[in-house]
């Protein structure tokens, strides 16, 4: 199994994500510069890490969405391979149309960096090692994380079980009081209809070492572990 981490100019969570795969999960992982002309299809899963690709110029994620590597990514996504976009990676996936919706400026118009409670809404290939309905801890760090979709689309996401994580309190209540950025329906992570592309604003790579967590937890690593376990099954088939 080999996981690729895509690097754009301005990506800054690439090494943090790399360390989680390489050091903690001991999975073969490759840093893949966006201009690299190698075939991306040889990798089993692709991660778009966080950061400020192209300095967030024009709009967060939009310039990266036009990088040639995204064309390859679109092909790969059709084959059902897992793809995770974290923070700026999520913004790129939304801008490139691989995920529905848009990510707007936080409702308080400020960058927010803090640990949040997240309710696991559904088990899918990225959350199988977590319990559906449980509350987990991860930090967020973004200026444009207010997820938005039309009401129709929101209902569709609900119907298809595409809402994967919601901002909540420690008991799993998903009221506006526990919504850090004004996201519609407290959405923190969504998948595509097929379930193989995940976009999330919280940073799982920053929640993979208990020493870094105010709660001494490492819930974030379970997102990656779930993906690996699902992949192992897929690769056997």
């Amino acid at each position: 199994m080999n996981v690729a981490i895509i690097q754009f100019p301005g990506t800054n969570c690439d090494m943090d994500t790399y360390r989680v795969f390489n050091d903690y999960l001991e999975i073969d992982v490759t840093l893949f510069w966006h201009e690299n002309t190698d075939n991306l299809e040889k990798y089993d899963a692709i991660i778009l890490p966080g950061g400020f690709s192209y300095g967030d110029r024009l709009r967060a994620g939009i310039i990266a969405a036009y990088s040639p590597v995204i064309k390859q990514l679109k092909k790969i996504s059709l084959k059902g391979k897992p793809i995770i976009g974290i923070c700026n990676g999520f913004q790129i996936l939304v801008e490139s149309g691989l995920l529905p919706g848009a990510l707007l400026t936080n409702s308080n118009l400020k960058f927010i960096c803090k640990w949040v409670n997240l309710k696991v809404e559904h088990n899918n290939l990225f959350t199988n090692s977590l319990q559906s309905g449980s509350v987990i801890h991860m930090p967020i760090a973004h200026n444009e994380g207010r997820y938005y979709v039309s009401d129709d689309k929101l209902q569709e996401l609900e119907r298809n079980n595409q809402i994967i994580l919601r901002y909540s309190d420690s008991d799993g209540n998903t009221s506006m009081d526990n919504n850090p950025n004004g996201s519609i329906s407290n959405i923190a992570a969504v998948s595509n209809a097929n379930g193989n592309v995940l976009g999330m604003m919280p940073h799982p790579e920053r929640a993979s070492d208990p020493l870094l967590s105010p709660y001494s937890t490492n819930n974030g690593i379970e997102i990656f572990r779930s993906m690996i376990l699902s992949l192992e099954v897929m690769l056997k088939e």
Binding site: P9, W33, G55, K110, F111, P139, L211, L212
Partner: protein
Amino acid sequence: MSTIESIDHSLTDNELEYIEKSLNRKPNNVELSMIDAQWSEHCSYKSSKSLLKLLPTKGKRVLFGPGYEAGVLDVDNGQVLTMHIESHNHPSAIDPYGGAATGVGGVLRDILSIGTRPIAVLDSLRFGNLSNPNNRWLLQNVVRGIADYGNCVGIPTIGGELSFDSCFDTNCLVDVVSIGVGKKKQLIFSEAKNVGDILVLLGNSTGRDGIHGSSFASKDLEDIPTDRSAVQIPDPFIKKLIIEGTMDALDAGLVSGLKDLGGGGLACCLSEVSDMGKTGVEVDLGKIHLRESGMEPYEILISESQERMLFIINPDNLDTISKCFDKYNLQYSIIGKVTGTKHVVIINNGDMIVDLPTELIANAPLINWPKTKPKHLDSKSVSKPELPVDINETLLKVLSSPNLADKSWVFQQYDHEVGTNTIVKPGESGASVIRIAPEKFIAISVDGNPSHCYLDPYNGAAGVVAEAMRNVISVGAEPIAMLDHLQFGNPSNSDVFWTFNETIKSISDFCSYIGIPCVGGKVSFYNEDAKTHKAIKPSPVISVAGLIKGEHNLRTRKLHSSRPLIVMVGETFDELGGSEYYSSIGHSQDGIVPQLNFELEKRAQKLVRDCIKVGLFGAVNDCSKGGLIHSLLQMCTISDMGASIDLSNIPSNCKRWDELLFSESHSRFITTIKKENFTNLLNISRNHDIPVSIIGSIGGHNLQVYNKDDNLFSYDLDYIRSYAYDSLSKFMGGQL
């Protein structure tokens, strides 16, 4: 600023005379501009250099100290820690967003210039009163500037401090500390040492921003709108690419010298690399990539356009090095070469327009200003306020001072998590902790106390060093080095210069006594109101770095039920001059400030370090600004856990409860222990000759204070939060 032949400069008649004598001719306009930039106070330290020599700079871990781009410390196993502090006060006062952002950018380049990767940033900020909308505007945009820059470049802003005083109404202070890590064998210096090497200018194009930036920082702020072009334009995205390109080039091991372009632009950069390398340089202005056409030669030379680095390399290595830049689409130009002439030579359109001896440009004549002791220091009133009638009102008033308030409004705007090594985060202690290797951590604090320094420069300044040390000790670290940033008014004011002198004397006395080396620093003069000539309060800011080995030695201020007893280490004295208490209740700003007893401080620090090492202490917090009650509140709110204390158990000579609660005496810590360990602690305290006493216990959700049988007050933490501790966020418009 005088004008000779239509060139703006700030050189004095004496300096001009000295230049002419040294050159044996009149300098031309371009030469004058270059010398003016390099001889500005900002770049030359001409008023402070002779005094700064007093500071102790040697220590067992110090590899390189003041005089280098950053201080370098050996942190074992071939790893080095680098640290530097910079301010961007004048630019931030007129363009808070750009000024603060480029302040971060500048200090990151210093860490990079010595061959190490910046891993964290901290800020120390001072503004005038928040009731003034201009100060709120400044704070909002300074914080946004720091956040946008640090967040984008991907270096965590892991801590800092913020306070307010009306003396900063016209001169805010924006100080940035950065630390970096690297390999001892990859250190590199800002020197042009090999004749024949080429000079490669990497990064941003050179434009008209930041013209006269360092001269502008070396005079009083005036004519604000016209000086706006003196502020540089930040570009954190390019900086991120420069950091990666530079690290790749350094990994290739083929760089002979490296220097950032900061204050004084190319002019200062060239004179400093040739002075340090004991060589000369020759540069062709036509080779420099420019942002705009029609730039005058002097503008190109002193422009402080951001995001530029000068690489000094052997021409044979250009191919390899340029590949590192090409990967990130970074612009660069080969602008000149290293010569053996010991002169800085500038060519423009084939003409030699500058030919100056390096030694002359790089060494401004020093100035020794007259000193007189300020009058206000001789009239010490010791009037005390009446004992408050309404305890509750007084307490909430003090705790709602923005100086003591919760600073989440600030640090939640900073990405303090990127890099996945921030172990002790902002708010969890007085220092922050970052991991630099498995089981190896760096603690870092930054502190200041203008009120104490104004009333008693000697005890105030030494006290700031002590507080910064106590903060890194509180997270379990051994202090290994410090940086000082000395911010004052106009040095030609003899009161200001006396105070400056006293401050350095005090810092060097205490550092020498306690054995902490100074590995770098900065001086910022001319922080005064241009109209009234009223200077800011003396504002030394001190940053201390500490080393922690082993996760089990890490501490925060978080309470834990396994250690329920609250212990006060040290003695509380009746010395409330300059306290938050007095200023919050509107009592006059005078009286005796906390005195730093060097010996006592050393023993208290040693006791706490020893007790952390053997695992006696759980939560640890320094007790200073705002006194015991503030220190305790910090511990309770971060843990969401209450506490109950009895003031009569505090070792003290104070007779009043308000003094016990609010005294800011030095050499004190609050800590928690297990019940069964108190006897053990008493034995240790006797050996260290430092009083310790149990003052209460943790539990519940209320903060309760007794004075013997008197229940002084009892508040739910949520109540204190909403009616006092959240005051900063309320001032700034609510929602976090």
